[in-house]
């Protein structure tokens, strides 16, 4: 359960930092109250989606089908985040730059139009929050701690909000790639474990195998990053 909550908190932190950049850019055009209104509307939509997703998944009667379904989703998510983090760590892709994102948003021609700016904020927070929703529902339902996972996502939002209010600027010092790498390794470990268990595989060390899988992903991911750095492709 602790692993699931930590993974949710870290995932949410990265996504909320990106959502905060969007809200900040929009707030400079239409004011904090309207921008915050758009953000809250998006978060309310995500809350409804979380409820619907949890109830929908809980109705899947066969535990193994549910476990396979959730595990596969986590693999989709984890392999993508790990791949991105490796590419950025090895210099194959630019690191995500909140300052540049902020400047690009401010340069948009429609950001000074109230309705368009509101939609930019709403869509931005909704899309960034979708990955948080996925992790909250997947890890929450599978570990039977959906409320705790949702609480971790809300706690991450509060931490980012507090940091944002203090900085009044894009949060560009957050080590996003390191967090993405760690979360990718963790989520991939959960996905691998649950998919094979759902297919009838008996893991040699039961749940302790999760830690071994995480360690393998971290060491393997670092080795691949190093190999790509030494021999650019």
């Amino acid at each position: 359960m602790i692993g699931a909550i930590v993974a949710t908190f870290l995932t949410a932190s990265v996504e909320w930092v990106e959502a905060y950049t969007i809200l900040l850019a929009v707030a400079l055009s239409i004011g904090w109250w309207r921008a915050a209104g758009a953000g809250l509307a998006a978060i309310a939509t995500l809350g409804v989606l979380t409820g619907l997703g949890s109830v929908g998944l809980a109705h899947i009667g066969d535990v193994r089908i549910l476990q396979f379904f959730i595990g596969f989703f986590l693999i989709l998510f984890g392999v993508r985040w790990l791949g991105k983090a490796i590419a950025r760590g090895a210099g194959l892709r630019k690191l995500h730059d909140e300052g540049a994102e902020f400047a690009a948003l401010r340069a948009r021609s429609d950001i000074n139009e109230a309705r368009a700016a509101w939609m930019i904020a709403f869509n931005g927070v909704l899309l960034e929050g979708l990955e948080v929703w996925l992790i909250v529902v997947a890890l929450g339902v599978q570990t039977h701690h959906t409320l705790a996972a949702a609480g971790a996502a809300v706690a991450a939002a509060l931490v980012v909000l507090a940091a944002g209010l203090a900085a009044r600027a894009p949060l560009s010092k957050v080590p996003e790639n390191t967090i993405k790498f760690t979360v990718g390794c963790g989520i991939l470990a959960f996905g691998t474990f649950w998919v094979l268990e759902a297919l009838g595989y008996a893991w040699p060390f039961a749940e302790f195998s999760l830690l071994l899988l995480f360690g393998f992903n971290v060491l393997g991911g670092l080795a691949v990053t190093r190999a790509y750095k030494m021999r650019p492709v």
């Binding site: 596969f72 693999i75 989709l76 998510f77 984890g78 392999v79 993508r80 790990l82 791949g83 991105k84 490796i86 590419a87 090895a90 194959l92 869509n123 899309l127 979708l130 990955e131 996925l134 990718g184 991939l188 691998t192 998919v195 094979l196 297919l199 009838g200 595989y201 893991w203 040699p204 195998s209 899988l213 393998f216 992903n217 393997g220 991911g221 691949v224 790509y228 492709v233």
Partner: protein, 55 residues
């Protein structure tokens, strides 16, 4: 809608990579070397992540 689907599932390359790895792991479970699935799937997924990093 496109952004919604891409956010949830990733692009086609991501879905194919994950599906091929999981299919390989599932197929291995039906062979006499089933006990190796717990070693093969993590290695395949790491290779998949390395492939996605390059493309």
């Amino acid at each position: 809608m496109r952004g919604f689907i891409k956010t949830l599932f990733g692009d086609a390359r991501n879905v194919c990579t994950a599906a091929i790895c999981v299919a390989a792991g599932a197929a291995l479970l039906h062979t006499p070397a089933a006990m190796l699935a717990g070693f093969v799937l993590p290695v395949a997924l790491l290779a998949g992540a390395a492939h996605l990093a390059k493309h």
